[in-house]
Amino acid sequence: MKKSYKIEVDCANCAMKMEEAAKTVEGVKDAVVSFMTQKMNVEFAEGADDKAVMQAVLKACKKVEDDCEIYL
């Protein structure tokens, strides 16, 4: 399952860090962050609960870049 989320992040490097962080979250198969379009595409692993996973993703992203926001 793939979903797209709107995000808010200030710098390209921070977007890269968010991507790295999101990828390491359990339940996330792959994640891509586009700084340009301010979007995050997340591919969830089989059987993962997207809402719970996204909470974890948000937490992981806040950890690396506390200025960022993901609109869930």
Partner: protein
């Protein structure tokens, strides 16, 4: 500028004013340090906070960290100088932070602006659909809620929200947002129209044939919005590069601060701690990788945006990058290089024809042929009717008889008309003149006498020849055409257009094999692009390095299978897409070389003590501003 950016701007203005004022204030000692601390905190508190949080969370080595260490270091060095009786320098530390913030603000504004530019180019998202309610008035509803088969009303000036079929009214449509084509398209009852077009003149009633989510406009927006998700090799390179680069320069700076003084001490000389400290801090400021990290995705984003404004939809930065190295372009024939519709290309009359003088005879011949073939569903009969151009009177036609594999005989205006291939003429024992043109020939006999031959063929697009020439001049080494058509037709078209290679009479599976062969013959850094109209080309489109589908107006399969979609079916756009791709990559490389070059030189100069803090600020902020300005050029496309 948004609220956040405005806030930064105010901070920059306040800090700059204070800096200027402080320059003239005659204070000295630690009090001076205290005064300089005010603008420093105003301008840099968020960076310091982020750096601090980063360190706590184990996220060191980003630009916040670099800036915080460099400026705090510079301030502390000033304090040290003051304490040891020297004249402390505080302005530099504040200036580094100030200019860094100016650079960041500039970058944010530039990115925001190009993002808005691109979304303006793609401003095709309809906000509502009009539905007629019981009382006859119009009601605006969310396009998402409109069911398939609903009749919607599109007033002049409005966007067509959902794909559908015109049931009432006629108008002209502006399709430029979709195709880049500025000539309006005329539509009337029965025509299929796609969403995203703007209704220019008349009121249209449209019966929807798709849901909003499945409509062309949604698909296109989706495609463009997701294109920056597929990252190019250059972008991935920078991501990897930044991962190693920042720690490397941090350790480099640390080594620069410690090693030379220690060696000096070991050699018995004075250590010069503060000199080497300054050099190390300068080194840190120079090394900030922002210029690269922002300018490369911005370039690709701009290139993709610029391309979509010309009706070229590119599904990812990686394809834009690959397109620059295309050395072989393989075309499908029908619908790609040719129009894919059969047209009467020639009418040949026998020297003594029974229908009168040339021009009149030509029209008479088409009249008989079109009437005789009127009941046939074959595409040939359609092209005959089109060539005839006037309406067909069914009452004039009697005794129609289709002879399978031969043609038709019928009575038109009481005359016995036979229209069909050579076999029909032989069968009816009519003496005819062989027509040797390329295409399908319809021989027509009236009352048992040969009256002429009509040549019907798929016509080559006006821009095809120019397109092949443009591709050649932009560095494509080989152009190949694959077709299921007869050899004679294929060779003729290929000769006309100046293609290098032709493979004719191919089955769809043969096309894949041919492309495989061509792929195997390619060099390592050369790409093969396949151009098709999306109809039964899907396997080949996905097999080629770059699949280009033409005429997305209406073909969902094409949008799905291809990497690049040309909204109109003009083959000239392929060369344009290649030009955009080359320009974009050139800008990307310019930025990589320029930013790394300037930084490299400044790093060496900084280490040797030749470059001071001001030069370091240029190497950081100046380079970034120049790189961003350069990247923005990608948005502009010359047609």
């Amino acid at each position: 500028m948004n609220k956040k950016q405005k806030k930064v701007l105010y901070r920059i203005i306040i800090a700059s004013c204070m800096m200027v004022a402080l320059y003239f204030v005659p204070v000295s000692g630690m009090f001076r340090f205290a005064l300089y601390l005010i603008p420093y905190v105003i301008i840099g508190y968020d960076i310091l906070r982020k750096a601090f949080l980063g360190i706590i969370r184990g996220q060191v080595f980003d630009e916040n960290f670099l800036m915080a260490v460099a400026t705090v270091g510079a301030m502390l060095l000033g304090v040290y100088e003051e304490l040891t009786g020297g004249d402390g320098e505080f302005a530099e530390g504040v200036a580094v932070m100030l200019f860094y913030q100016i650079g960041e603000l500039f970058q944010a504004v530039a990115v925001g602006k190009s993002r808005r530019n691109i979304s303006a180019l793609m401003d095709i998202r309809p906000d509502y659909a009009n539905i007629e309610n019981e009382s006859g008035g119009l009601e605006q509803v969310d396009p998402d809620e409109v069911a398939v088969g609903t009749t919607i009303v599109v007033c002049p000036g409005e966007k067509v929200p959902i794909d559908g079929c015109v049931t009432e009214g006629s108008s002209t449509l502006n399709t430029s947002a979709l195709t880049g084509e500025s000539v309006p398209r005329e539509v009337s009852v029965g025509d299929q129209i796609i969403s995203g077009c703007v209704n220019l003149s008349g009121l249209l009633k449209i019966q929807t044939t798709k849901e909003f989510g499945e409509s062309t406009v949604s698909k296109i927006l989706d495609l463009v919005e997701n294109s920056s998700m597929k990252k190019s090799r250059s972008e991935n390179f920078i991501t990897k590069f930044a991962k190693y680069y920042t720690p490397a320069v941090c350790y480099g700076a640390l080594a620069l601060a410690i090693l030379p003084p220690v060696i000096n001490l070991l050699l018995g000389g004075p250590a010069y701690w503060s000199t080497w400290m300054i050099r190390a801090l300068t080194f840190l400021v120079i090394s900030c990788p922002c210029a690269l990290v922002i300018s490369i995705p911005l370039s690709f984003f701009g290139g993709i945006g610029g391309a979509s404004s010309c009706g070229i939809l590119i599904k990812g930065s990686n394809y834009l990058e690959a397109l620059a190295q295309t050395s072989c372009v393989v075309f499908d024939k029908t619908g790609t290089l040719t129009k894919g519709v059969f047209q009467v290309t020639d009418v040949q009359l026998p020297t003594s024809n029974p229908l009168g003088e040339a021009e009149e005879a030509r029209q008479r011949l088409l009249y008989y042929a079109a009437h005789a073939e009127n009941y046939s569903s074959h595409p040939i009969s359609k092209s005959l009717r089109e060539a005839y151009g006037e309406s067909i009177d069914n009452d004039k036609i009697t005794d129609v008889e289709e002879i399978g594999g031969h043609g038709v005989t019928a009575k038109v205006d009481g005359h016995n008309v036979a229209a069909g291939n050579a076999k029909l003429m032989q069968k009816l024992k009519i003496d005819y003149t062989e027509c040797d043109g390329i295409g399908t020939v319809v021989y027509v006999a009236v009352d048992g006498t040969f009256a002429g031959a009509i040549l019907i063929a798929d016509v080559v697009k006006e821009s095809s020849k120019e397109a092949i020439k443009a591709l050649k001049s932009s560095g494509v080494k080989k152009t190949v055409m694959l077709t299921g058509d007869a050899k004679a037709v294929a060779d003729y078209v290929a000769g006309e257009l100046g293609l290098d290679e032709v493979h004719s009479e191919l089955l769809p599976s043969d096309k894949v094999n041919r492309v495989e062969e061509l792929l195997a013959a390619q060099g390592k850094r050369e790409n093969l692009a396949f151009v098709g109209d999306g109809i039964n080309d899907a396997p080949v489109l996905s097999r080629a390095d770059i699949g280009i589908a033409m005429g997305a107006m209406g073909s969902d399969a094409a949008i799905e299978a291809a990497d690049i979609v040309l909204m109109d079916d003009n083959p000239l756009k392929i060369a344009l897409a290649m030009r955009i791709s080359r320009k974009c990559l050139r800008i990307v490389y310019e930025n990589i070389v320029f930013a790394l070059g300037v930084k490299g030189i400044c790093l060496i100069l900084g280490a040797l003590g030749i470059a001071n803090m001001w030069m370091a600020i240029f190497a950081d902020v100046g380079v970034m501003v120049i790189a961003v300005l350069n990247a923005i050029r990608c948005l502009k496309v010359k047609m």
